[in-house]
Amino acid sequence: MTQDMWGQVRDILKGVVGANNYTNWIEPIEFGSISGGVATFFVPTNFIGNYVAQHYGDQIMYHLNRLGASVQRLSFAIAANAQRAMAPVARPSEPHDSGFPDPAAHIDPRFTFDSFVVGKPNELAHAAARRVAEGGPVSFNPLFLYGGVGLGKTHLMHAIAHELRARQPHLNVLYLSAEQFMYRFITALRDRKMMDFKQMFRAVDVLMVDDVQFIAGKDSTQDEFFHTFNALVDQHKQIIISADRAPGEIKDLEERIKSRLQCGLVVDLHPTDYELRLGVLQAKVEMYRGQYPGLSLRDGVLEFLAHRLSTNVRVLEGALTRLFAFASLVGREITLELTQDCLADILRASDRKITVEEIQRKVSDHYNIRLSDLIGPKRVRTLARPRQIAMYLAKSMTNRSLPEIGRRFGGRDHTTVMHGVRRIEELRATDSQISDDLELLRRALEA
């Protein structure tokens, strides 16, 4: 019965405090219980609670008592989080989130040869990596992979590690980034454990150092790297190195290291072409099928992305990841429109703010009327409707205030703008022509 009573109080308050205040402050409140003279309400945030208590507390108490409840005090509590958040989303399964005992030895389980998409730009690097991963007599030492960011250097190195571990589990394979090499070296120096450091590195069978350009310019680290390198080569142990450019072009790298790095096989990963990018996207989508069941993807989206995002694979994959995460959050099919909305920041060259003037121009073009008529004083229907549409778009697509919009429409009052906006909001729901026009104009303005 108390819920009913709260319903009645709400109805009374609606008349008393005005529609706006009602939506802002009363509607968000949920009734909890009345006990011991205390009425408890749930509110979405603390300050709504405080505000309501200050401004409407007396009224709420008065009406509750008038309806027969015995309330001396109001209490406001934060609603449970579950109620505040959006509708529950289908949560994709977490691939892996556990800690790894030794970060340096961490090999990403997703980076295998199977998941590496081969195309013309990377087929040589792929073949060389395969060859090394198959083991056997060391044919080229070191294998030096280089290429711009996000072209698959790290992926190939992890894939080699996987393959070696599967084929020859007895081998001691060590993969680490240049930064981790440096960190271990410095720690060993500090803790006076250089002997351990040397022994550990010289006991590996396959050493992989990723992004070697980061040790350039760091003299004692370079020195130690050089010695480790030589010791391993002398023992015919395989070394695999990656960098963002060819050995000879790494700045601040000692000459003797450069020449050492060049004496094996140096292969580069070329920038991707359209076919390879499309292949990468298709492979990635297959991977996501398991993670995001129930998501559907329209034809043409992958082609669009492969065509538009040509910089590097990491950005391309990141875009697809974002797209899937977003679509699963809002629970919608992945269409070209959704893609353009979700990835606007990387698809467009700049973030431009839409202005009221642009909206006015577009709307007058669309309805084939003069701009001066759109802004001017005439009130015939053929002008008034487009004017209201322009006002609606100005309100929803810019952050201008109502008085400001009014000024830009020939000095109209803000209540006129408000009326226009409301009118279009109503029509939009009932008139499909208007809602189509709005959609068309919005797209044209955002393009």
């Binding site: 802002n24 603390n46 989130d97 974002r322 995460a325 959050l329 920041d345 973030d351 952050n399």
Partner: protein
Amino acid sequence: MPHQLSFDLPVQVALGEGDFFVAPANAQAYAMVTQGHWPEGKLALIGPPGSGKSHLGRVWADRQSARIRAAAALDPEAPLPPAGARLVIEDVEHLAPAAEEYVFHLHNHLRATGGRLLLTADRAPSRWPIRLPDLASRMQATSIAMLDDPDDRLLAALLMKLFADRQLAAPPDLIDWLALRIERSHRAAAQAVAALDAAALSLGRNLSVRLARDVLDKTRPPAP
């Protein structure tokens, strides 16, 4: 009559979880930050100044016991956090070039060890002025949660919160009056509240629609 001096003292901003107002304009970002799955364990929270990035970051950090660091104050020589750490880096657009390599290693370290990284900034990662290409591509591949300009509901709530942060009780009709007349942005709301606070104090008047009419008509920026 001498004017009462008013000082621009920092206000006591409420940043608890219960102070974050969820409305359609920020519901998606809220859901993504607090309960969404972060691809690769990282997320960029993007929004204009004052839109609640830090607030939302704090809400997440409190839940996850994450540390919060300002990008501009990152020390390139600092040791990397422990494996699997949770970290917030605020205002990445102010990241110093000297710290880019550090963030690169930090990013790889957190990713490899199952950590979480929340980055906040006023623009999307593709617009961050990062010179190190290795870092730039990793940042661009980050998923984004966007805090946009407030909708009308949120604007009213925001005004109320801004007054509350200054210990001011604004009458309901003032909130309505302001929400209809100021620019629909976080910055405009903050400016309006600051101007009203200063005026109420120096003129010795109560907060009211009349005061707002007197004050804001004067401070309104000329139409560009």
